[in-house]
C-alpha cells in the first residue's frame, strides 16, 4: 500500500512540472511560445490517430497497423471531393461519413474472417496486409505524385503580446481535441457508447445482456477511421506535410509512441502522450542544433523506450499480473 502511495504522484507531478516549464518558457520567450503552440498542433494530429489506435486496441487487443494508411486514403477522398468542386467543409463532413462506412466495411471484409479462426498475431499480419493494400490502392487510384490539399484556414496570424500564433495551428488543436471530445461524449453519455464499452471489456457478459458484440467491433473500426480521417485532413492542411501515399507513415509512429506513453488502453493518456510528444519534438528540433529532422523519429523512439523501461505499462496503463 505504501508503495502505491509513494509512486502514484510521480506521473501527475512530472506532467505538472512539464506544463509549468512550458508556461514559464513561453512567458520568457516569444519564439518558445510559438514553437510550443505549433508543437501542440502537431500533437493534436498525433492525438486523433493515437485515440483511433486505442479504440481498436481496447476492443480487440490488436494494434491496427493500417490505421495510418486508411487515414491517408480518406484524406485523398477529401482532396478528390474538393477537386470536383465541393467546398472544404462539405467535403470534410462527407469524408467523415465515407470514412465511417469504409472503416466498418474493412472490419467486415478483411478483419472479421481472420479473427474468426486466427489468433492475435494473424490479425496483426492481416492489418499489415491491409496497410500494404490500402497504401497500394492510394498509389493505384491517385498516383504517387504529391497533391496540394487546400487549407480551410487562410494564413492568418494572431498577435498576443509579441507572440504570433498561426490560425492554422490553433484550428488544428481545436478540431483534433474537439473530435476526441465528441467521441468521449459518445462513449460516456450514450447507450451505444455504453454498449461499445461493455463489448470491449466483457464480450461474453455483454452478449448475455443482448449487445451485438461483433457489430460493436465494426462500429469501433468505423469510429477509428473517422478519427484517422480528421488526423489525415489536419496533417495534409499543415504546410510541413505533403499529401502523398506515404503521408501518414511517420505520423503513425508518433501516434504509436503516444498511445504507448498513455498506456495503450487509455484515450486520455493517448491524448496527453500525443501532445507531450508533439511539443517535445518541436522544441528539440528548434533548440538542439544536432537534432536534424531525420533524427526526430529516432528521438520519439528513444523517448518511448525510456518511458517503457521506467514504467512498462505506460503512464496511465494498468499493471497486469501475468499467470502461467
Amino acid at each position: 500500500m505504501t508503495r502505491r502511495l509513494n509512486t502514484s504522484w510521480i506521473v501527475p507531478g512530472f506532467l505538472l512540472a512539464g506544463c509549468a516549464a512550458l508556461v514559464f518558457g513561453s512567458l520568457r520567450s516569444s519564439l518558445f511560445a510559438q514553437q510550443t503552440i505549433s508543437g501542440l498542433a502537431n500533437g493534436g494530429i498525433y492525438a486523433s490517430l493515437a485515440v483511433a489506435l486505442v479504440l481498436i486496441y481496447r476492443a480487440t487487443e490488436v494494434i491496427n497497423f493500417a490505421q495510418g494508411a486508411i487515414a491517408t486514403f480518406t484524406t485523398y477522398i477529401a482532396w478528390q471531393l474538393i477537386d470536383w468542386g465541393l467546398g472544404y467543409w462539405p467535403a470534410f463532413f462527407c469524408t467523415l461519413g465515407i470514412a465511417f462506412v469504409g472503416g466498418v466495411a474493412l472490419e467486415l471484409i478483411a478483419i472479421r474472417p481472420v479473427e474468426r479462426r486466427g489468433n492475435q498475431l494473424t490479425v496483426v499480419i492481416a492489418s499489415i496486409g491491409l496497410l500494404i493494400l490500402v497504401e497500394g490502392a492510394v498509389g493505384y487510384i491517385w498516383g504517387n505524385d504529391i497533391r496540394f490539399m487546400p487549407s480551410p484556414f487562410p494564413a492568418h496570424v494572431y498577435r498576443v503580446g509579441g507572440v504570433a500564433f498561426s490560425r492554422q495551428d490553433l484550428a488544428t488543436i481545436a478540431i483534433s481535441i474537439a473530435s476526441v471530445g465528441v467521441l468521449w461524449l459518445l462513449f460516456q453519455f450514450t447507450k451505444l457508447g455504453l454498449a461499445m464499452r461493455a463489448a470491449a471489456v466483457r464480450p461474453d457478459a455483454a452478449r448475455l445482456v443482448g449487445i451485438r458484440v461483433s457489430w460493436m467491433l465494426s462500429l469501433g473500426w468505423g469510429l477509428a477511421a473517422v478519427l484517422g480521417a480528421v488526423a489525415g485532413m489536419m496533417a495534409a492542411a499543415s504546410p510541413s506535410v505533403l499529401l502523398q501515399p506515404s503521408m501518414m507513415d511517420g505520423i503513425l509512429i508518433y501516434a504509436f509512441a503516444a498511445a504507448v506513453l498513455g498506456g495503450l488502453e487509455s484515450a486520455a493518456g493517448a491524448v496527453i502522450g500525443a501532445l507531450a510528444i508533439g511539443v517535445m519534438l518541436n522544441l528539440l528540433g528548434s533548440y538542439v542544433s544536432w537534432v536534424t529532422p531525420q533524427l526526430l523519429l529516432p528521438a520519439a523512439f528513444v523517448l518511448m523506450l525510456v518511458v517503457l523501461l521506467v514504467k512498462p505499462s505506460g503512464l496511465f496503463g494498468r499493471t497486469r499480473v501475468r499467470k502461467v
Binding site: 499480419i125 496486409g129 493494400l133 511517420g250 509512429i253 529516432p298
Partner: protein, 325 residues
Amino acid sequence: MSSMTPRRLIGPLVAVAAAVAIALIPLTLSDYNRSTGATVGVFFVAILALNIVTGYTGQISIGHGAFMAVGGYTTAILTHDHGWNDIATMPVALLVGFAAGVIVGLPALRFHGVYLALTTFAVALAVPQIAKNYPNFTGGTEGLALPTHTGLWLYRTTWIVAGIVFVLAWLILRGRTGRAFRSIRDSEIAAASSGVSLSLYKTLAFGISAAFSAVAGSLYVLVNNFVNPDVFALTLSLYILIGAVVGGLGSLWGILIGAVFVELLPIGLTSAHVSSSQSVPVIFGAVVIAVMALLPLGAANLLRALHFGSKIGQSSDVPQGTEGR
C-alpha cells in the same frame, strides 16, 4: 499408420530433394531470373532469422529489416571504403548483427506482446533515418555502390550461405538451447520455474536472430549491388514478417514457402500481366489477408496436416467467445 522409420526419413529426404532442386534450378534460368532466385535466398535467410526469435521464442519482432540494414551497411562500408572482399565481410556482419541484437534484446526483456511489436516497429523506422543522417559514413540518401556480380554467382553464394545458416539454425534449435527457446514461447513463467534463465535465452535468441538477419542484409546489398536507406525501408521488415507467418511460424519448412511467397508473388503478378505494376501491392495485400483467413497457422501447417492427418486451425491461443452475435 506407417511405421516410424519412413516417417522419420521424410524430413531428411525432403531436405535433400530441396537442396538438389535448388542446385539444379539455375541451369534453367536466365541470368536475370537467377538474381531473382538469389533474392528468394536472401528472404529465406531473413525469414529463418526472424523465426528464431518469433517462431521459436515467441517474441514478436516487426523490426528485423533494421538488423538487415546493420549487416548490409557493414558489408557496404567494408567493401566500398576499405576494399574488403565481399564474402569476407559476412563474418563481420554476423558479429556486428549479434551485438546489435543483444543491444535491442536487453531492453526487450521488459516488453511483452504488443509493446515489443511496437518497439521493434519503431526500430525498423528509426534505423533508415539514422543512416540518412550520417552521410559521411553511409553515403546518405545516395547510398554506396558495390561490386557487381553475375546472377549465377549471386545465386550460388546466396544459397550456399542459406544452407550454412539453415544447418546452424537447425543445430541450435534441436538441442538444449532450442528447448529453452520453445519453453519460453509456451510459458515464460513455467520456463523460469524450470530453471531456464529468461534474460539469458531471450537475449541470446535476439542476438542469434539478428546475426543471421545481418548476414541476410549482407547478401541483400550484394544482390542489389548498392545500398541506401530506402533499401531497408519499413516494407522490408513487413515482408519478412509476412513471409514468416504465411509460411508458418516455428516451422523450418514453412520458411521456404514464405520466402517464395514474398519474393515471387509480386513478380509473378507483374510478369503474368494479371495486373499493372501499380496494382501489385493491392493484390499482394489482399492475398495476405486471404491467406490469414484461410490458413491462420501458415502453409507449413497445411503440409503437416496433409502428411500426418492432424487437425489444423486448432490453436490453443485462439480467443474464445469473441465471435458470433
